[in-house]
Point group: C2
Chain length 417, copies 2
Amino acid sequence: MKNYTHKKKNAKQSNKLELDSFFSKGVEKMRASDIRDALKLVEGKRIISFAGGLPDPETFPREEIRDIINMLEYSDFSSSFQYGATLGMIGLRKELANFVSKRGIINVDEDNILVSAGSQEAIYILCFLLLNPGDDIIVEAPTYVAALNAMRLKNPVLHGIPLKNNGMDIEELERELKEIEAKGRKIKFIYTIPSSQNPSGITMSMENRKKLLKIAEEHNILIIEDDAYGFLGFDGDTPDAIKSLDTNGRVIYTSTFSKILAPGFRLGWVVANPEIILKMELLKQSIDLHSSTFTQRIALETLRRGVIERNIPKVRKLYKEKRDVMVKSIRRWFPKDVKYRVPNGGMFIFVWLDSRIDTRELLPEAVKRGVAFVPGAGFYHDDSGKNTMRLNFSQPSIREIEEGIKVLGTLIKDKAV
Amino acid sequence: MKNYTHKKKNAKQSNKLELDSFFSKGVEKMRASDIRDALKLVEGKRIISFAGGLPDPETFPREEIRDIINMLEYSDFSSSFQYGATLGMIGLRKELANFVSKRGIINVDEDNILVSAGSQEAIYILCFLLLNPGDDIIVEAPTYVAALNAMRLKNPVLHGIPLKNNGMDIEELERELKEIEAKGRKIKFIYTIPSSQNPSGITMSMENRKKLLKIAEEHNILIIEDDAYGFLGFDGDTPDAIKSLDTNGRVIYTSTFSKILAPGFRLGWVVANPEIILKMELLKQSIDLHSSTFTQRIALETLRRGVIERNIPKVRKLYKEKRDVMVKSIRRWFPKDVKYRVPNGGMFIFVWLDSRIDTRELLPEAVKRGVAFVPGAGFYHDDSGKNTMRLNFSQPSIREIEEGIKVLGTLIKDKAV
């Protein structure tokens, strides 16, 4: 293809292009997350990282997936290397409609399911479909930072409801709703991560799930239920999904293969009213046509063969052990006045330090001592929570947890003096 | 997880939710494409389909990919099943920076590359980043329908420039620009598919590529170059990419693995100014975090091992053969007054019929006779081109092409009477 003789190819930036003038309004406000900043600090360094949100690779059923791929026929390759339906592979959607019964969601079929690129894409699509600029929405405070960033692309008014030991503070929610509605405004949706929440680790009680749905009914609000950690409860069972209580399609449920199979497959799914699924499908078509058919094909087999079903207890066991070590280490090394809740599942412990400590300032010092975490403020819709930090226990080894928490505890104590 | 005793789970739709009130402005205008409608007509029927845009599965290097996966170590599985960088795997970005030299693009490195979910996601992200509602943009008429749909999400004013045998009609472009600027308006970007265009099959000459870039410089306009078919030129070499001529980052180049490896991997890439790459990265993070690390890992190996390099000539040979059969069949069976250009690459032939024929009306009749195509109007920004059709030759077999074109030609002749 080298027939042409334009020799001055790609000379370095001669007449500088003023790119800023080309970007659309609001693009300048897009921001990298604290997690990302924390991970950049860590890049290339030998460091104990509590900053990521990564599964332990030991939880990936590698052997089983290799077997699955080896058993795929050439004809399977032909179809799973090909373009596919935007909604996702029909076989996978059927399996998922069945799989979510583990979260109490029954009476759904493939028409209620869309396969997305992780639950992230589902959240992004929902924000795009549901939000006009200036719309009011409710989130937990703190909440998942990448969901906040997806929401912010639509410039909504974010209202944060604090968390209690049994999840979203329902009284505070009712008070806030009253206040918002008194101003003639209306909440579009409530975004909640009711099970082993990211970042707090808190699980909403069944009682509160029922109350939340009742409130949503009364005020005519949609609920987006992010159940990313719903399959990862360690201590007894996690309450069934809010979606399991839903009788009229008010709850849009999303979950992911990232924590129970492999994040690298970029697969999640939505359970919702078919009318919502169809709108999501239309938007997804413009975004990426569909999610990887090859990884969908593998995920389908892991469901069919019970690979995921057998994997979940192993994941729970491993993370429970790591959580226990982290809790024990925090008890031993952190100052006695720090606050945290022992999470009953998931991958994170969230810690409130002495209110005079700013964890964003603490981070570079921690990294110098060889430990990383994520400052908690980024998880708050209003950037409060300066004195908080999120600690991930799924990825680091047990030894790293012991060592890293000791280093971090010592640093915090140094600061507190 | 079945401890809870709320028995009225998911009863079918009791109090009907008025969903329309929840969707954001403009969502009601989102539309399914004609392609999709055509594919739905075909669903489950034994039919000869010229409607899709699917590669021939014979072009998927299945054996080589199986070998690659079998040679991956457990440690490779650990990393490629894990979360990855939003920009894409560094190794893949390096390989791609090298690979695009085949399209004349040199002096770029990994900082110029973002890995996307097919080129579709790249186009979506660029529309989101660059367009404010009401912005003026230029497209070819006809052009890729899924790009039009992504653009329409931002409510731009679309200006269509007709195609000539050597690509976009440059004189018409200059005239249109003069007219637009006389109104005090400004074009944000020109979207072009210069090589073996979808749907027209037309390739822009090197002379016109140079003229187009010069015009873009003079009028300070960005160019989005969609090079999806740039590696699939059959008849001599396809001119180097417009990006190869770009000295100041004005051209944003995108291409895809979908036509040279496997669409089911959902992988494409962008070559652009690092400033643009960074903005795209931020938005991609909110959309899907990153593209599949597993399929990226496989794609990386196919580049490293020359699998793609060896595959491209095979794809070209097969599609050239199919194109020749389709052209021959059209000559034989279609009315003599139809217009089309023999594409020098890609996967499509675009046909202009007698102006009294509406191909949307023709389609159901064609399907009844066992043949599907895509009505061409959907490829026009203004829904003109009622008498056009897009015929795909990459997917159907040679025999299907012969048979299907005969059926279609006979039907068209029946109509013309």
